[in-house]
């Protein structure tokens, strides 16, 4: 069963510039595994080194955040649409680091 996944702007270079692609899976976890197999450049931006979804990566099934469903075990039904929606975060280092100048 192919499920439509909506891709946000910063990840489209890894999906041949497409804003929507299809992947297979019975759960969100399976779906994302298939997605990152088909589009391998996505993996480093969706998952951290421990293989967990990065905190600023939000996955929605239809209009529901999977954090409030069954996370990556959330089942996928026919006709569902999955969206990857970024949070964008950042900020200055703590005050104690200010004198350190360049921080990356």
């Amino acid at each position: 069963m192919a499920t439509k996944i909506l891709i946000p702007t910063p990840l489209r270079p890894f999906t041949d510039k497409k804003d929507a692609v299809e992947a297979e899976g019975k759960t969100v976890g399976e779906l994302l595994a298939d997605l990152t197999t088909k589009h391998s450049g996505l993996k480093a931006h969706l998952y951290n080194a421990e293989g967990k979804l990065r905190s600023f990566v939000n996955i929605y099934v239809n209009d529901e955040d999977i954090r409030y469903l069954q996370k990556e075990q959330t089942p996928i039904a026919a006709g569902d649409t999955v969206s990857i929606i970024p949070s964008v975060a950042g900020g200055a280092p703590p005050v104690s680091n200010v004198s350190g100048g360049r921080s990356v």
């Binding site: 702007t9 931006h45 929606i85 970024p86 949070s87 900020g91 280092p93 990356v104």
Partner: protein, 139 residues
């Protein structure tokens, strides 16, 4: 390596600086809209961080959607985001790096004692190891 250049239409520089001064001592944030490497509009967004807005900013998913929708309405693309560093240099932090998205331009404006100062632009390296500094060519 050639630096990526981000061109800003007239007024963009001032909009970002003003936003940073208005929210001082808190961080401001907003989206950059345009086409290719030219920013033609900004979309000011609320800083919804729960970690202290003097040192953090957060664009929640619903506001990210607003930014993409606004970009589409304006006939452009979402090119990246801007934020301010109150009383801190316009250089990305480790926290910025940890939370960065690829391909986006990240403008940082330093705001010192309420007055905007240096403004820079950064791009995440593909391997996420660091940022590359770009060239910000206003007006």
């Amino acid at each position: 390596m050639t630096k990526q250049t981000l061109l800003c239409d007239a007024g963009i520089d001032g909009e970002i600086r003003r936003h940073g001064e208005e929210t001082y001592p808190h961080e401001c944030c907003g989206a950059l809209v345009g086409s290719g490497n030219r920013v033609t509009a900004t979309v000011a967004l609320p800083n919804t961080t729960e970690e202290g807005p003097r040192r953090r900013f957060m664009v929640r998913p619903s506001d990210y959607r607003v930014a993409e929708q606004k970009a589409s309405e304006l006939g452009g693309d979402l090119l990246g985001f801007y934020h301010s560093h109150p009383d801190h240099p316009a250089r990305p932090s480790q926290y910025d790096l940890d939370h960065a998205w690829p391909t986006f331009a990240y403008i940082i404006v330093a705001v010192a004692q309420g007055k905007s100062a240096a403004m820079t632009v950064w791009y995440l390296k593909e391997d996420r190891s660091a940022f590359d500094e770009g060239e910000l060519n206003g007006n």
